[in-house]
Symmetry: C2
């Protein structure tokens, strides 16, 4: 029997809102990032929307979480395959250029969340760690296979790749002609060889 005040329904509605919000932000950007605009877009009043998410920041973090969730199943294949880091990563970056609003939301919030008191702070810290861990592992495999320089440790390299992709996003927001996948691919290639003998 359904619970009193059945709140499975509330959860489902939340998910529905998030999915819709994700589409809207992706397509139309998020302009001034007001709750009201998201509310209009998902077909609710501002108060109606806040009923589900409490505060503005919580709403936006949830949108980013939902994005991660969707991207994860969409883009993650076998982390052990050689294609994982090179191709899947490129695919994510390529995909990002189709969702400028999400890139903007992400970039903006990641700076605002610098303050430890910010409601999104923990999200960004945890996400960063997760990303770097996954990356480092995949990179280490490539190093062990001799396909990637070991002149630099996998953890640092993971951090660098994270920085490159975040930094390129900012450049790209400023100028949509910036070729994000091209730049990342080029870096990857440049690092793809083992270090040379001291003197050939």
């Amino acid at each position: 029997m359904a619970k009193r005040g059945s709140y499975a329904k509330g959860v489902a509605k939340r998910e529905e809102i998030l999915t819709r919000a994700l589409e809207v932000v992706a397509e139309q950007g998020f302009r001034s990032a007001s709750v009201r605009e998201i509310a209009d877009a998902v077909g609710l009043s501002q108060a109606g929307l806040l009923h589900y998410f409490g505060t503005k920041e919580q709403l936006f973090v949830e949108i980013l979480r939902k994005r991660d969730e969707v991207d994860l199943v969409r883009f993650t294949h076998d982390p052990d395959s050689p294609a994982f880091i090179r191709e899947d990563y490129a695919a994510v970056i390529e995909h990002n250029s189709e969702v400028p609003g999400l890139v903007e939301l992400f970039s903006r919030m990641s700076v605002e969340a610098a303050d430890p008191e910010h409601p999104a702070h923990d999200y960004f810290v945890a996400r960063g760690e997760a990303v770097r861990t996954t990356f480092a592992e995949a990179l280490r495999h490539r190093q062990e296979a001799g396909e990637l320089t070991d002149a630099i440790d996998a953890e640092t390299l993971a951090r660098i790749f994270q920085a490159v992709s975040d930094g390129l996003q900012v450049q790209w927001l400023l100028d949509r002609d910036v070729d994000m996948p091209g730049a990342v691919g080029a870096l990857f290639d440049a690092l793809a060889s083992p270090p040379p003998p001291r003197r050939p």
Copy 2:
């Protein structure tokens, strides 16, 4: 004879305000980035400050310009020397970790300025181009000297280094333990060798 309404004085005062604002933001951060806070800090009323700068955005762009100006004379040595890119760049990054407020201001505004209508848009576009041009030239010299891989062209590499430093700043804002100069140095080292022979 001094001009009527002598405005050399106004310019001097502007400079004075900017210099002071730079110090204040560098040291104390810029919290919520309101005009009032800067005004308090430089010892003017909010209205008094806007008398000099017109709008909030203009004020903030001017602060960033002033920062560039100061850093330029402070950190730029001979662009032809081998130390230029490796050491001077590291010095700038090292210095940045002593001025968190400026890093935050810069990072935040660079995202907000994505909109072509934003008053700081042109500043960021021009600055990015200038940075990359300077970098690319220095990197090309290193390549020609055989000290840096030429598996990747200098322009792309310049873009990547820009992305790395912007991206690391965001990571560092989130977690002050991040070693920015260390990561950049490691990347530089990893790229420091020419590509190896096909099979040793």
